[in-house]
Each structure stands twice: as structure tokens, then as C-alpha cells.
Point group: C2
């Protein structure tokens, strides 16, 4: 398929148009035809890029899943699980621009009003976790370590994202990510050593 050959940045234009309309008229009150029209395209073009109306809000998650997996695959030989997790988080840096901060804030507001969108968000979250787990398995981690590593990577991303969203200066995302991961690693150490009271 030659998707997008005649429509430069079609995906981005559709994403922007959708978000504009969702903010103004609500997610429920917006049709795919309206999104396509605002982006200067037709419905068929929309569906060449996105499976449904919900999907147009979650392109970023697919990008993240790819960035995380590639960074883990590309980590140096001998990298520990912890190194791989940090590499994954650092790789998100390229998409965490000040423009994204604005878009993300609008998107969060739209998603907060729709349980349908929240469910799609959770599905994307689960797919990122699956993608990170698979990448860690390929590095030789066993199933338990890979799933644990994936969950903690996503939790670190989530904390880093929350803090980065609130930050006003230009501190790069990677420093929030590294701080969040280190914080979680300190907590896991406490968790691991807190077995003395257990039966």
C-alpha cells in the first residue's frame, strides 16, 4: 500500500484535527467524517491510517512501544536488566518535546471524560508492557524478570511523565525518567528486604 504518498503528514494532520474536535465538541459528539474533513481528507483516508475513531488518539503509544523495544534490543552487550530499562526510558526523550506537553494535556482532558477512551488507553498500556517484556526476553531474561522489568519500566515512565508534565523549565525528560527509575529501584530494595515479619 502507498499510504500517505499524496497526503504529506496525513497521520499528524488527522491526529491534530481529531484532538481539536474532541476538545471542542467532545469525543462522542465527533464523527470520523468530521475529523477527515477538518484535515482536508475523506473518511476512507482516515481508515487507511487508523482502525477506528479511538485509535487516532493513541498513535503516540505505538511509537513508545517501538522506541522502548528498539532501545532494549540495541543496548550494549552485557547490559543488565536495569541498564536495559534505563535505555528504554531514555529513548522516549526524542518524542517528549514541549509541543507534546501541550498536546498531551489536551489529550488527557479528552480521555478523562470517556470510559471508552480509557479502556483503549489501558489496552495500549498492556501492549507496551507486552512489547517491553518480549524485548527483555530476547536479552535472555526469564519470564518473571522480563514481566517485572516491564511493569517497573512502565511505572517509572508514568511517574516521570507526571513530573515532566508539571515542569515548566526545559529539564529533559530523560532526567525525570532516570530519577523515577532510581526511586523505584530504591523502593524495590526496601520491599525485597522487608521479609522479617512475614510468616
Amino acid at each position: 500500500m502507498t499510504v500517505g504518498r499524496w497526503e504529506p503528514n496525513a497521520r499528524e494532520r488527522l491526529e491534530t484535527a481529531a484532538l481539536d474536535l474532541f476538545v471542542t465538541n467532545g469525543y462522542e459528539g465527533t464523527t470520523v467524517a468530521q475529523i477527515a474533513e477538518r484535515a482536508g481528507m475523506n473518511r476512507a483516508t482516515f481508515f487507511r491510517h487508523f482502525a477506528d475513531k479511538r485509535e487516532v488518539l493513541f498513535g503516540g503509544e505505538d511509537v513508545l512501544a517501538g522506541l522502548f523495544a528498539d532501545a532494549i534490543a540495541g543496548a550494549p552487550l552485557g547490559a543488565t536488566l536495569s541498564d536495559c530499562m534505563l535505555a528504554a526510558l531514555a529513548a522516549a526523550e526524542v518524542v517528549m518535546t514541549s509541543n507534546l506537553r501541550v498536546v498531551a494535556a489536551r489529550r488527557i482532558a479528552v480521555v478523562a471524560l470517556s470510559s471508552e477512551l480509557q479502556e483503549r488507553g489501558l489496552l495500549k498500556h498492556a501492549r507496551i508492557a507486552t512489547s517491553v517484556t518480549a524485548a527483555l526476553r530476547k536479552r535472555g531474561e526469564d519470564e518473571v524478570a522480563a514481566r517485572l522489568g516491564a511493569e517497573i519500566t512502565l511505572l517509572a515512565f508514568s511517574f516521570a511523565f507526571e513530573r515532566w508534565m508539571k515542569a515548566n523549565d526545559d529539564e529533559p525528560f530523560s532526567s525525570f525518567a532516570e530519577a523515577a527509575l532510581r526511586d523505584l529501584q530504591t523502593r524495590t530494595a526496601q520491599l525485597a528486604h522487608a521479609q522479617r515479619f512475614s510468616s
Copy 2:
């Protein structure tokens, strides 16, 4: 509301009828009216117990969220985070019967065929995590420790459940749960100490 006064075990009957029909005719091919009829009730009764057709498959998740939260709230004074997590997992024991193993296997087969059901499952999973996080916050844990504790509790539950489902003998769920939690705690210790190669 006097839900169920004239319909003993209405919820359970609807759940069983729904699962029977989903297995036979598929989730998409089954209507709420058919579920209600098979359970000897009407549509209105179904909707007094469940918000929609998907919800009838996930009553168990709501029960688990309650069991986990109550166990954490009821853990002895001075219980560590790790103790609270173990208490939560052990509390699931009461519902993990050999009958549930049969029902769960059928349910897993139905959910595997429907992305709509998988999304609802993820929503329930997220709600259990929120419920466990809130219960741990009330024990004085901060936000980071509470969310980390909740994620690891759910991951331990997930591993324990997978192993318990495959087990043929009558080893209680709690021993699978304790083993899974200990395993994850050992892994987190490795994660916490594997920082030497990091920048």
C-alpha cells in the same frame, strides 16, 4: 433497592447462564435477553445486577478488589508493605476453589476471542490496582511505594493464578501466591542492586 429478594443467587445464575451461552454461541452471538431467559429471569433483572453484557464476566474481579483492600486494611499494626501484600494475596484463597478453576478456564477461552472483553478485563485490572494502591496509602505508604506495591501484588497474583490453574492437586492457592511473591521479591532485590553498569 431490594435486588435479588425474589431471585435467590440471581447474580450467580446470570453469570453461569452467560458463560454457558458465550461458550456455545460466542460472546458476540449472545444477547442479554438470551442470558436472562436461560437464567429464568427477564432483561430488566439482568440490568439490575450488571451494567452491560461484558460486566457479567467480571464479577470475580470486583470481589478480588474488595478482598485485597479489606485484607490490607485488616493487617496487624506494624505490618510492613511486604506483609500487607502477602495478606492481600492470601485473602484471595476463599474464592480460589476447584469450581472456580473450571469456570476460569471457560472464561479465559471466551475472553481470548474478544478484544472488547479483553479491554474490559484490563479496566478491571486497573481498578484492582487502584483499590490496592488506595488501601496501601491508608496504611501510610507514600504514592510511589503504594503504586509499586500494588503492581507487584497484581503481578504475583497473575503468576500464582497461572500456576494454580495448571496444578492438578489440591495445593491451596495461598502457597502459590506466597511463592510467587517471594520470587518477585528476590528479583526486585537483583534489580535494585544491578546499578553498577549504569551511567
